[in-house]
């Protein structure tokens, strides 16, 4: 049922806890009560220092990792239900696509899983390849791709079935400025169609430019959520140690500092 209700929540994290028991002695607390929501149609960016739990949060959302405690809601369903992925596209960090296959093979797989017939998919595949600017490398196996090319290929796979929700884990990592520009444009265009975007990133400048709301994660939970407009309104210290910082950078550093106390 389609509702044009902007305040509709599509993603919910409700007091989510996760501890990795990888080592018998060391237990890594990845999430310690993560709690926030993402509204339909917005672009929500999550930033945080390394080890804050950003990737874990996204992996739990996709059902790759099970939360110890708390509720997660993805598009009205539990993440452990594969049907929740029907209207969701996911771009993992350092995406590894199958080395020996080409991007066309991968897109054909997407087509098949999403129930497209061979005729429908041919045109769609071509469109997507053009969109991510990989037309010249369509028949080359992935192992010969550069990092930027792999990233774009994976993005194409995530976008194949025009998901309502797009989840991206460090989408701009490892891309050169041209590649970054391309990805940002794609994401922007995609959001304009009314789709929801949730992503996490290290690159604060991109986050500042693209997001409707920004969440700062620290030590496994969301320390604060802020809107870019608010950042501009409030005057945060623009210099730290004599270096000029962007508003988000300053806010980020301040928040992280407060959290570690």
């Amino acid at each position: 049922m389609y509702t044009n209700f902007m305040k509709e929540t599509v993603i919910t994290y409700d007091q989510v806890f996760k501890t990795y028991k990888a080592d018998i002695r060391i237990k890594k607390k990845a999430l310690t009560g993560l709690h926030f929501q993402v509204q339909k149609g917005e672009v929500f960016g999550v930033v945080g220092p390394n080890g804050a739990g950003k990737s874990t949060a996204l992996k739990i959302l996709m059902g790759f990792v099970r939360a110890d405690k708390g509720n997660i809601d993805l598009n009205g369903q539990s993440p452990t239900n594969p049907a929740s992925h029907k209207f969701v596209g996911f771009l993992p960090e350092n995406p590894c696509l199958y080395e020996h296959l080409t991007i066309i093979d991968h897109l054909k797989f997407c087509a098949r899983v999403n129930g497209y017939s061979s005729q429908e998919s041919v045109q769609k595949i071509q469109n997507l390849i053009d969109l991510v600017d990989l037309s010249h490398s369509a028949t080359i196996p992935i192992r010969r791709f550069s990092k930027g090319m792999t990233q774009r290929a994976a993005l194409a796979c995530a976008l194949f079935h025009e998901p309502e929700i797009l989840i991206l884990d460090e989408p701009m990592s490892g891309l050169d400025p041209l590649g970054r520009q391309l990805v940002i444009e794609i994401i922007r265009e995609y959001n304009k169609k009314g789709h929801t975007i949730l992503f996490c990133s290290h690159i604060l400048t991109d986050v500042e430019r693209m997001c409707d709301r920004i969440g700062i994660m620290c030590n496994g939970k969301l320390a604060s959520i802020i809107k870019p407009e608010e950042l501009a309104q409030n005057v945060y210290s623009q210099t730290t140690n004599g270096e000029k910082k962007t508003p988000l950078e300053s806010f980020f550093l301040k928040t992280v500092e407060e959290q570690s106390l």
Partner: protein
């Protein structure tokens, strides 16, 4: 079901493009050529010798899938996170496991079919070179039975490889466990037989006997699928016996895969 076929297809394609496969086929073809040559030195039971070599090559070719390819396509899938490409789609973990298994046995089937076809060519060449009189008893049915059972044996092993890859993250450990499984699978038959017979001067403790009685239902008896010797001597297995072995193999695969699915559901794919 469509999802399972999609995973089978992508696994199959990825496996097929691995260069190891071509190395396997070339080596096996070499073996078969050698078999034809070698058998000429005996000038006696030529049919048997060619079939011995060729069926062994078929087995070895099939075994390369669980030992080398399977671990690559399973453990590495999780290690390198390529599994996300599949699980990010509306595909359940069960479908993933079944699809992987399907892809792997399909790969084994392709490899073994090519090798079987070459075997038949070897037999034909043997006939031309040495005379048809050595091959009068050659039974295509016996040969097919042996190849099919060899494939089933590989399938059982692959099912267990899937279990091991769900249990451990390390590709090395999974390969090691596969090796142990294979060795145990091939020797358990002899061990059970040895212990079930009262022979001169051999004393077996009651604990060992009881353990083996239980263990024989748990470990797969891979030796029952070995029909190479029968095929080499042109002995055809009656339908009932063939079905018995077949049922054993199929049911074992189902149980092993169920176990794999169960384990995999709980796994964190961080």
């Amino acid at each position: 079901m469509n999802n399972i076929f999609a995973v089978i297809s992508i696994t199959f394609k990825e496996g097929l493009r691995q260069r190891i496969l071509y190395g396997v086929i070339i080596s096996a073809l070499f073996v078969m050529f050698f078999a034809v040559l070698f058998s000429g030195w005996f000038m006696r039971d030529i049919s048997k010798i060619i079939l011995d070599f060729c069926l062994s090559a078929v087995s070895v070719g099939g075994l390369l899938i669980p030992f080398f390819l399977a671990v690559n396509l399973l453990s590495k899938d999780i290690e390198r996170k390529t599994i996300y490409a599949i699980l990010a789609k509306p595909i359940s973990r069960t479908q993933y496991i079944l699809g992987k298994f399907g892809g792997l046995i399909a790969l084994a089937a392709v490899v073994m079919s090519i090798l079987s076809a070459s075997s038949l060519v070897s037999v034909w060449i043997g006939k031309l070179l040495y005379g048809a009189r050595f091959f009068t008893d050659f039974s295509l049915l016996a040969f097919t039975q042996a190849v099919l059972m060899s494939w089933l044996s590989v399938a059982v092993l692959i099912a267990l490889v899937v279990v091991w890859c769900c249990v451990t993250t390390s590709a090395f450990l999974a390969t090691l466990l596969t090796l142990f499984t294979y060795i145990i699978g091939q020797t358990i038959d002899d061990v059970v037989r040895f212990l079930s017979v009262d022979t001169v001067g051999v004393e077996i403790s009651a604990t060992v006997e009881k353990t083996v009685q239980v263990v024989k239902y748990i470990f797969p008896n891979l030796a029952v699928f070995d029909l190479k010797l029968q095929a080499a001597h042109n002995v055809i297995l009656p339908f009932g016996e063939f079905t018995t072995i077949g049922m054993y193999g199929v049911c074992y695969c189902i149980v092993a895969l169920s176990l794999a699915v169960l384990i995999f559901q709980k796994r964190d794919l961080a």
